[in-house]
């Protein structure tokens, strides 16, 4: 309950900051993915420092077999979609408090949109 409320709030804030929708740019998104790549693989590969993101869309959070997730992530009870990922990467600790990803988030809505475009194209 609480988590979904936070999600919708973040989403609204995200849209407001975005203003008139700009065309997302997957090539730019790929550059932004560099911030994730030290821990997350985009290709079909075993999990590393972070869980593999291959096939993340539609997956239930905290369920990959080869990664030890935090209790917070296991309890989150969400399915990864463009929307849930968007709110998560905007402010990971706010979206899922006490999760273990050591990352402060991507505050800029356009950057998030580009990143998600790239992610959708690459590993949906």
């Amino acid at each position: 309950m609480k988590i979904s409320r936070i999600f919708s709030m973040t989403l609204l804030a995200g849209f407001a900051a975005c203003g008139p929708a700009q065309a997302a740019d997957a090539a730019h998104g790929q550059k932004i993915f560099a911030e994730c790549a030290a821990c997350h693989s985009a290709a079909k590969a075993p999990s590393g420092v972070g869980p593999s993101l291959y096939g993340v869309f539609g997956r239930k959070a905290g369920t990959l077999d080869d990664f030890r997730f935090s209790p917070a992530m296991k309890r989150a009870n969400i399915v990864w979609s463009r929307e849930t990922l968007e709110s998560y990467i905007a402010d990971p600790q706010k979206a899922i408090p006490a999760n273990r990803m050591p990352f402060g988030g991507i505050p800029d809505a356009q950057n998030r949109a580009d990143l998600l475009d790239y992610m959708e194209q690459t590993f949906k």
Binding site: A34, E35, A37, A38, C39, G48, V49, R100, P102
Partner: protein, 591 residues
């Protein structure tokens, strides 16, 4: 009886920074390399992940990544008239014991030492006269120049993801960098880290007094980064847990992230963890080594690993210890000044002030290993006239903080009780409002500071412990006084509510509080086998197929952290092996 294994081309002793670099370079050259590492193999995902890596008790108090003193330690004393006693608990320095070595839990400050260090004796003699150098100060030139090392410094900075701002690009002084640094061919691998507020305040105050502040270069990636080996670094999250911890974000330049995974992919390479090398074996002629003896610390089994070439990369202190237990080179004797193994052991000195600003919120829990600003006006600045103060060397002065841990970091003004209600109130009041200005000072080699084997105490393998005889001398005292004065002047100009001034240390060195793991010397490099243990390529003068790589080759210590030149010299040695030694095995320098 040791079990004799099949011969390999190269055995690497210790897999930290230098071991990682030499392993990579020599497997690339097509050699079959075995690395023996006394510690276990740990990885970011399994061992340095959140939340386990935030364990202050485990890593800071119980030294989980560091040398186990129940197996091996040193005995220590301040001078030759004392009886040395074993250091039963680590304190003053914290050598690593894990794949990645101390490079796992270092902060990452990465400097280029200049000719002022590499040619210390000739430059001081030329500028201040021969008499300026005290008779018992055994400083000497290293036999290598900055210009020779420049490309290797760069190679190391790129491997380790060093963030910084150039101050001198090919002779052009750059705004915002260190104007006193030696010319660099290129910018740093990454732009500087974001300044913390305390560093911004220090920067402004230093500028105001006419000094030249700049961001400290550090192997903490300010941006996501991929190095020449394809290692991917995340951007530093300013988590505040840098030194003594592995980095959960792979943002710190550490061997187990930067280089070892690339070596592991090579079919030419084999890592044997939990393998403690006790000795290098010489052949009958005494001019060649034939391999090493090691013990599997999990099973107690002993092995002989024959090799065509042995490279000691076991950290400065351990390299010297292995040379002594192997009987290679003449041990140094402070009474006669003869011998080379153990000579010119150096450390560092320092002093600091704590400034308290009522109402400030510095967020001390948020910083990178190197997110503070610093000045070199009294260090690499050769124009600074030392004769007014009568010392040699210098001090790098920095403002801010790093790794202020939530439990251990408790700054309170002078006079606060050390426990109880008043202490609690003060700690709550000042935790957010304190910052520091620190000096890290050079230590010049002295005839009576040295390393040898202890006559009494032995380690778990029955070998004599190494004995450290060390104290600060007049040069360090004078430098400390000057550095304290500079710090206090900057501090006062910042108008703090309270301030605990810097005081020059004149008390003897002790092993108890942590100071730095910047131990240098013991098998120094040089141009002459009578006064140095290894030549300019870090090759043993005695055994041509033995190379000894690490800060143990530094002929003296500077104010800077050591790993910049340690890494550069590792690449420089690798180059000499690949391009000279392999073509024509034998002494590379004839003296």
């Amino acid at each position: 009886m040791a079990k004799k294994l099949k011969e390999v081309d190269v055995v690497i002793v210790g897999l930290g920074w230098t071991g990682g670099i030499l392993s990579k370079e020599l497997t690339d050259a097509g050699l079959k390399v075995v690395a023996l590492e006394r510690g276990g193999n740990r990885t970011t995902q399994d061992d340095y992940a959140l939340p386990g890596v935030r364990d202050e008790l485990r890593y800071v108090v119980r030294h989980d990544l560091m040398q186990n003193t129940a197996r091996d330690t040193l005995t220590v004393r301040n001078n030759i008239s004392q009886e040395a006693l074993p250091m039963r608990r680590l304190g003053s320095f914290l050598p690593g014991e894990v794949v990645g070595g101390s490079g796992v839990h270092w902060s990452g400050h990465t400097w280029r030492w200049t000719d002022m260090e590499l040619k210390v004796r000739s430059m001081y003699e030329e500028r201040y006269g021969k008499k300026y150098i005290p008779a018992d100060m055994t400083i000497q030139d290293w036999g290598v120049s900055y210009a020779e090392l420049e490309p290797y410094y760069e190679k190391f900075e790129r491997a380790a993801a060093v963030s910084g701002k150039a101050g001198n690009l090919r002779g052009q002084i750059q705004e915002g960098g260190n104007p006193f640094e030696a010319p660099r061919q290129n910018e740093y691998a990454l732009p500087p880290l974001t300044k913390i507020h305390a560093s911004e305040m220090f920067n402004a105050a230093a500028k105001n007094l006419g000094y030249h502040p700049f961001p400290r270069p550090s192997a903490n990636a300010s941006r996501p980064y991929t190095n020449q080996y394809g290692a991917q670094f995340g951007a530093c999250e300013y988590c505040g847990y840098c030194q003594r911890f592995g980095c959960e974000a792979n943002a710190k330049g550490s061997p187990h992230v930067a280089i070892i995974p690339a070596v592991m992919k090579s079919a030419n390479f084999e890592l044997r963890a939990h393998s403690w090398v006790t000795r290098v074996i010489k052949d009958k002629s005494g001019k060649r080594v034939t391999g090493v003896l090691y013990i599997n610390v999990l099973t107690g089994e002993e092995f002989e690993q024959p090799a065509n070439m042995v490279i000691l990369t076991a950290f400065a202190l351990n390299n010297v210890h292995i040379m002594l237990t192997s009987g290679i080179g003449q041990p140094y004797d402070p009474k006669t000044g003869k011998g080379v193994i153990g000579k010119n052991y150096c450390y560092q000195t320092g002093t600091s002030a704590t400034l308290f600003f009522e109402g400030k919120h510095f967020n001390p829990f948020m910083n990178a290993g190197g997110s503070n600003d610093t000045i070199d006006d009294f260090n690499t600045n050769w124009d600074f006239d030392r004769s007014k103060f009568g010392y040699i060397g210098g001090a790098n002065i920095s403002g801010g903080f790093n790794t202020n841990l939530p439990i251990g970091y408790r700054p309170v003004p002078r006079g606060t009780p050390q426990w109880g209600r008043e202490w609690k109130a003060a700690t709550a009041k000042w935790y957010q409002a304190a910052m520091k200005i620190d000096a890290s000072g050079a230590v010049m080699a002295n005839r009576y500071n040295y390393l040898d084997l202890d006559p009494t105490y032995r380690n778990a393998f029955g070998q004599p412990l190494m004995r450290m005889t060390f104290d600060y001398k007049e040069n360090e005292h004078k430098m400390g006084q000057h550095a304290a004065q500079v710090i206090n002047d900057i501090a006062k100009s910042m108008n703090p509510t309270h301030f605990t001034p810097a005081v020059a240390r004149t008390d003897p060195w002790t092993v108890v509080p942590y100071q730095s793991t910047h131990n240098t010397g013991g098998t120094i490099m040089g141009v002459n086998p009578k006064s140095s243990a290894v030549n300019r390529y870090l090759q043993s003068w005695d055994c041509h197929n033995l190379f000894v790589v690490g800060a143990n080759v530094f002929a003296h210590n500077s104010s800077y952290n050591p790993t910049g030149p340690v890494g550069a010299l590792a690449y420089w040695t690798a180059d000499a092996i690949r391009n000279q030694y392999l073509k024509n095995p034998g002494q590379l320098v004839h003296a």
